[in-house]
Chain length 250, copies 4
């Protein structure tokens, strides 16, 4: 092999370069006019946009049931428009099932600090009931970094710790895409998740490894749409939630 | 081929299943304690988080220069903490160069409506000076959908139209990853972009096709870090900007 | 957006182009001298290369056992250096387990034609005991195309039908890469297979969908190295094999 | 997060498992009968299969022209059905242009050893005139390993050195897929190449980095179909070729 540069020049007459036809293009050739884009009225101060499904606006828990027995969710409904985990009431889930979504959800840990490590202000937001974004008060409270607030529990450490002071309201803005499977049940596309905590990027298009597990390594099983689940961590972690809405993504 | 199921059972003794060892695992086996995660104080009402680089806080244009000749940026500085495109002053860019970033930027179109189509309240935010997120007043103002507000100009139609009323302030929250190239200059990873407009997802991890072009199809050229650029569309489109900050991503 | 071309020219001084430094390179900069490459003596007329593991050279079946009970393989050993499926003796497999391999294997269907469709000269070569390359006499014998000779059974139609006349020897040259799994057992890389039949490309880097199944869709299960298996189709399909060797690939 | 296992069991009733419907499937559900597969008569002893385009069968050089000036190729035509590089005649190329192909080509280095390193029996096979599979006599002749026989020149070291003794005929069986580009000229899929040398796998689905270059790093440029090229290395390297055929791949 030698003097390739020269031979490339010589050979170039054989190649068809699309760039030539590019020169004849007009600006309008790359305009797309259809289909029209839906108009959405954005919310003010994190309120639900006009096309969102409101899952909790502070008035009632009508969109939620108990995970245990599908009876009415009996977490505490507070006068300030929030709800609080009720000890031993267990996890709650939405009645509706979802695939890929944009999710907005706000939460706060109790002002009175109790417990330490994973036992302080612990709850969790489970996309499709299986994939957990950690909720935890680990302000001045060390824990394993793949289990701290804004982690994808035991899978992905958050980029930064961006929680507000204990007792204040935090906001998650989540872009979640459901995993995909083939006819035989093989995973063909991992679930992905991007999370902003209080406007700060904490998870950046992470490829979820499988359902959240406490012990061992995650393993996907084929599933379809599934409810959003909120966790009762059963250790007196009275976390509160408010202003929950989702927008379904394709 | 026949009775595969049976033979798989027979053969299974030859396979080493990792799942067996999974059963012996303890919860602590999947805990990660290092490195520690940096603490960031989030901003209130879209203010810059503690680790952000503030590019414009309303006080001066010291972080910006003219694209044309690198002299001081001479767009209008307003008393309300915003700046406005100055006709014929041309595009401005940051002094600092960036790769992948989280970007927050707010903008509004003039309250007095002038022009139509692409000539009404048109500007643009160019990541790395090359990849444009469209800024446009197309409220009741039809244009090509891959050129409307929140499009990746001539590349990606926004998921929805989520702008506020003309004359009001809009906010973009952008997660941008720079393209990657090999030693020879071949593209090895497209740039990606996720955009929230007023809290509503409008671009969902789009793979950017190349630098924004008005005519023809985009073509990447290898580059490194580059400034953020804001556009003077030169058609009396006096768009204003405020509260601009970035956080560098790896 | 407008006059992008001009602004790109202006901006280009900010970009670091690797191409510039390319100009200072010397030819020797892209030479690699280590590690040295192993020398292999190729075989003549499809004989095993010097680094191959010979699985059958016509002398005995010492490398093979019955799949059913792991006793000695009791297929017919012929005087011409081949072996033939023994009816009801069942499938046989290698004693040794393999991952990714280059496999050479020759086979012929009985000269006397018996049966039709999948019941004429049917056998199969199962990589890692699970992934079947079909062996079938479908010369002038219609069957479903994803089950004909050189198909990945019920997964991939061969590019062409390149078998020799019934009763003649065919040669498969196969490049197979084992599937990969993560710690939890999720598939992270499909098995791939390239097959030449009598020197003609019939499977072109096909991504295997999962273990071969007669009914339903394939589903991967995590496994490690596994034996090569040859099928007794139990329908009087006395297919013969000869000259079998593998080279392990990383 | 806690007791995930239990909650997964509880939640499972919300999931739709495709596996359930799998149980109702019949064998015929996964049979494919159309389109029919073309029949190809394979060649004996590496002769061209019935669907191949024969580029050189020893009778004449009618399929070839000089790269320099497109006049008739004037390499030596030998009585034994081979052709030999003619010193200073320059590279030759096929009249026909190709995209993705299966290529069979045989070559030998001169029996009388002259020169050393890259100056002994050096030629090259350029797919689409740009991507070189190295031809070299480096039996007992050290050179850089990414420039030795069966390398993708300066890009990929061969897995093993599987050439026959100097002066003997070697055979390459090559599966090559052309690179793909988008409308703007960005590379969207690298060219890939698999090479068997004398029946031994030497390149295993390598992703080609760009056109072969002697200095610096490869960089793709958009192109369409292009001729096969054979190299005159201009250093008295009188390499011979014979039995050249291609089969076009999609």
């Amino acid at each position: 092999m030698r003097k390739i540069v020269l031979s490339i020049l010589i050979m170039s007459s054989f190649f068809s370069f699309a760039q030539k036809s590019e020169k004849k293009m007009k600006p309008s050739d790359t305009e797309l006019w259809e289909p029209k884009v839906n108009v959405v009225k954005p919310g003010v101060n994190n309120a639900a946009p006009s096309d969102a499904i409101v899952l909790f606006d502070g008035k009632d828990l009508s969109q939620w049931v108990s995970v245990k027995d599908s009876t009415a969710a009996n977490w505490h409904l507070n006068k300030d428009g929030s709800m609080t985990v009720k000890n031993k009431a267990g996890d709650i889930r939405t009645k509706q099932s979802f695939g890929s979504v944009q999710l907005h959800i706000e939460w706060k840990s109790p002002s009175e600090v109790n417990g330490e490590g994973q036992s302080r202000g612990n709850s969790g937001i489970f996309l499709q009931s299986q994939y957990e974004v950690q909720v935890l008060d680990n302000n001045n409270n060390a824990t394993y970094v793949n289990g701290q607030v804004a982690s994808i529990y035991k899978q992905s450490v958050p980029l930064v710790h961006a929680a507000v002071e204990t007792g204040g309201w935090n906001a998650y803005d989540i872009i979640y895409h459901a995993p995909e499977f083939d006819l035989g049940g093989n995973l063909t596309k991992q679930a992905t998740i991007t999370v902003l905590l209080n406007g700060v990027l904490v998870q950046d298009h992470f490829n979820i490894l499988g359902p959240t597990v406490f012990i061992g390594h995650p393993k996907y099983s084929k599933h379809g749409k599934a409810p959003l689940k909120l966790q009762d961590h059963r250790d007196n972690s009275r976390v509160s939630y408010r202003n929950i809405w989702v927008r379904e993504l394709e």
